[in-house]
Every structure is written in C-alpha cells, then in structure tokens.
Amino acid sequence: MRLPLLAVLAVLPVAGCSISQPSVPVGSYLGGDYVAVRTFAETQEAEGDVENLAIVLNVKGQCQLALGDVDAARQTFQTAAQIMGTWATSGNEVTAAIVGSESSKTYKGDPYEKAMNAFYLSYCYLQKGEPDNARAALKRGILMDGEVADEKFQADNALLFWMAGRMSRLFGASGAEDYFKEAQTANTFSIEHDARGDVNNAILASPEKGNLVLLLPIGLGPKKFADGREEELARFSPQSHPAVRAQATLDGESLGRSWILNDVDYQASTLGGTAMEGIRKGKAVFKRSTRIGGTVLVNEGLNNLDSDEGQAAAIVGGALLVFSALTSSAADVRHWPTLPSTVQVLVAEVPPGEHDLVVDFLDGSGRPLPQLQHTVRINVPSTGEAWFLIPSLPPAAAKP
C-alpha cells in the first residue's frame, strides 16, 4: 500500500510547480487606470511568480508609456526582452515542463509577443534619441518573429520591417530600401493569408514619407486558451474592443486615416504547431489511458476485495488513477493580455513647429469614440522626425 504513496510523492516535485496566468486587471488598463495596473505589475514583480516576470514587465512597460515615463518603460521592456530573447533553458526546467505542467516553465512569450516587445522597446529607444538601438531592437524582433514553427509565416511582420527601414534612414545606415521591400512583401503575404489590412497600403507605398509619424496600437489582442479533451491544445480567441481604426487632425486639418501594419491576432494564430504540442498530446493520451485503465482495475478490485487478485487490482488501479490525476497535459496559456489587436500607422508631412494634434479612434461603423480621443500639443522639429505612440486607450490625464 505504500507504493502508490511513493509514486505520488515522486511526481509531486515536478508536477507541483504549475504557474498560472497573472490576473492582470485588463479592465482597469482599458479604462485608463494605468497607475493601478502599474502598481499591480510592480507587486507581481516583487512578490509574484518569477516565471511570469516577462509578462508583468511588459504590462508595466505599457503603463509607464501611457503615463509618459518613456525612460522607465525602456528599462522595463529591456529587462523583459532579455528574458524573452534567451534561448538557454536549464535541464530541470525542461524536465519539469515535460514531465509535469508545461506552465511551470519561464514565460518567454510566443513570437508575436516577442515582436511586440521589440516594437515597444524600439519606440522607447527612438524617444531616447538612439535610432540605432531602436533598429537593433527591431532586428532582434524580426529574428524572433521568425521563430514560428510554420516556415511560411516567418518574417511576415510588416511593421517591424518598415520601422527598421525608417530607423536606418534616421541614423544614416544602409539597408533602408531592403527593409522597405521586405515590409511590402510581408504585408502582401499576410493579407493573402487573411490578415487584416490593405494590399495597397499607403504607408508602404511611400515608406520614407512624412516627418510626423503616429504609431497607433488599436483594440485588444487575442486571448490564449486551452482546448481539447485534456486541455492539451493552445488556441487563440480574438477579444472585442470598440476601436478598430483611427483618424487624426492637425490644427483642425485632416491628416487622413490609419493603416494596419501589424495584425496581432493574425500573428498569434499563425504560430504553427510546436514541439510541445506533440508532447502535450502524448501526455493527454497517457492521462486518458491511465484514467480508463485505473477505473477498470479499481472497479474489478472492489468487486473482488476478498481475493488477493482483487486487492492487487484495486491498488494498481488506484496508482494509475493517481498518475492520471497528476499528469498535466494542459497547454501553457499564459500570454501578454494587454496587447493591441492591431498596430496601425498614420504619417504626414507637416510644417515644423508646434501644432495641436487630435487623434480619434473609430468603431466598426466609423463613429468616433469620444472617451478615447487624444488631444496633444506636439512639436515637430525643423530637421528629423516626430514620432508618437498613441494607443486606443483613454488618455492618462482623463483619470484623477
């Protein structure tokens, strides 16, 4: 009778460290309470599961950006990038994730999440006046976006290529034309494969145009969930959000509408099958088989408890049921919950100097969403470019 107990204890150390998705207050984030969300992230950073550090850092970085603390955001995204970009994994972590729960591993994000970290990090470096480091972040993001298992969907993030081209021009490096060409190819390919956007994208048609650039993360990104009989399949579902595109005015004059350069939902759904998916499916079969076998043996044993064979069947059946219960085939569904659904871009050629910029986010019917309107006094330099990141979130000042 001690053997089943030992079996349980043997499995517990590896199966006992399952890490769940941090309960980021997404509603507060969407409602513009960035201080509360940042505080949550900081608490998690200090006291939460270290395996989730990159998730909470990315959320914290977004809040810091929304609150206007770009320098702090850069350091935060940089730390997250270090975690997400490290390939090395300890043997213990691999064993725990394969034998026990997959979600015991350090969250490093899917390629689309790594690409979004690179996007935010590059913007922060640009604001620091370092377009070379901004391009370095984008190059890293392009490489990480290429980590998807399905080769045909590698390098299909037009946003990163286009920004890398713009950064190259800003610090006088070569390669801008190649990046612009790649951006066009990526855009055409992704739209042919059901991404949202336009083949005749005005931004990519004149990729070097404009001294005012608005980066517009819009909507709410996909949610990752577990599917399948044993929750062994990782799937994504789009999330509803009223904003779908944007338009802007400068000193009352229309600057036109935004163009999609990155469909985050599409990027998530084209991840392709992973090696871990195969392992989880195998574990699911094992979990089901041991459960069925264990149930049969326990039933047989209970019906013949007066015989030695019956007692043995009950013990073995019980052990199988314990193994089944302890085998976690569930997919790791931790994800970056505050990502946008798309990243859109609006560029314009405007006179240098101070201007009143108004950005309106529109719903599916083209109606402006007043609570998301941003009015900003901007300064466009006489040489160089002015870049602004304005998400479809309430302005920080709107909250007391």
Binding site: R2, L5, L6, L9, A10, L12, P13, V14, G16, C17, Q78, A81, Q82, G85, T86, W87, A88, T89, E93, V94, A96, A97, I98, E102, K105, K108, L121, Y125, E130, D132, N133, R135, A136, A137, K139, R140, L143, G146, E147, A149, F171, A173, T274, A275, M276, I279
Partner: protein, 198 residues
C-alpha cells in the same frame, strides 16, 4: 526503513523543488551565467583593456618630443547590430582604460552636450561675479577623435542560431582626417532552443 528514507527524501525534494534562489557576487571577468547572445561584462572589460593597450602600443597618442600631450575625445558609438546596448557603458569603460594606460599623460576632452551646458553655465556665473575663478580659458581643441561601430551577423535555422558580433574602434586625426589607428573585437555565440520553447 528504506521506504521511510525514500519518503523523507521525496518530501524534502518536494519542499525545495519550487524555491531555491541565490544572490551571489561574481567576478565580472567570468562568463555570464545569465546567457544570451549579446556582449557580456567580460567582453566589455576585455575589449576596453585590449583597445587601450593597443592604442598605447601604437604610439599615436604619445606625447610629442617637446612634451605636448595629445588630445582626443570620444565622439560616438553606432550600433548596427541586432543587440541593444548601453553605448555609454562601452565608451566610458574604454575612456577610463585609456586614461589609466597613459597614466594621465593624455588630454581627454569631454565633448558631451552636458559638458558644454555646464561649461557655459559656469562661464556665465563667473562673468556675473557669482563665483570665483578666471574666465579667460579657452575650450581645448582636439587632435583626434575616437569612434566605434558595433555590427552583427545573425543566422537562425530551426532550433539553432548563431550571432557574430564585431566591434570596431577607430582613431582619426582631425587635422588631416587620416585614420591613424583601428582595431576590433570579435565574439560569436551559438544557441540551441529548448524543446519546451519550440
């Protein structure tokens, strides 16, 4: 007895499995246990030491025969690689190593915007008589400028990737625009992605 020992052992393992941490002071010249493909502390230190020693050995910044010290400033480091880096970390370390290598027998100029601002503010305060000191010194001119450039070649296929990083430094004579010294530092890393991250 055996079963009891195994049970106690497994319980101990269970208790420690979820929570071992460390906080240790390590040698900055040791290989980084936090892995990744970028420059590590040992690279930055080695690079700075090596460049400072090489510049000194070449003699381009040596004082002239009449004892006049050579002057230079560090202009910038351009990062063309795929690895973001704090450029000031590299340049400041190099400047320090150069100063140490020449034992101060060199004029290193601070041409950063903040130095210009501070210098102008000090001059204004002296002009207004708010602080003591002469106000007739001119800003030093420079004989040379030191620049750096970091590039990388990244390759990725399946579960493997490699990253080759080349950091080049060059010293230019500002009177003649002649490149009087250059040297580089190379490093390469290879990584294999774990099955749990694929």
């Amino acid at each position: 007895m055996l079963i009891r020992s195994v049970t106690v052992g497994l319980l101990g393992l269970l208790l420690t499995a979820c929570g071992s941490t460390r906080d240790t002071r390590v040698n900055p010249d040791a290989a980084d246990s936090v892995t990744g493909t970028g420059l590590q502390s040992m690279d930055i230190r080695t690079m700075a030491n090596r460049m400072a020693a090489d510049i000194k050995e070449w003699g381009v910044l040596a004082p002239t025969s009449d004892g006049k010290l050579a002057s230079f400033f560090i202009y910038e480091m351009v990062n063309e690689s795929s690895d973001t880096i704090n450029k000031m970390l590299v340049l400041t370390k190099l400047r320090t190593e150069l100063f140490k290598a020449f034992r101060g027998r060199i004029d290193i100029l601070d041409r950063s915007p903040s130095a210009t601002d501070l210098s102008n503010a000090e001059q204004r305060m002296k002009q207004r008589g708010e602080v003591t000191g002469a106000n007739n010194k001119k800003v030093f001119g420079s004989d040379f400028v030191l620049k750096g450039r970091m590039m990388s070649r990244d390759r990725q296929a399946g579960k493997l990737k490699s990253s080759y990083i080349l950091v080049t430094f060059e010293l230019t004579d500002l009177a003649t625009q002649k490149l009087v010294w250059t040297n580089d530092y190379e490093m390469k890393t290879e990584s294999e992605r774990s099955v749990i991250n694929r």
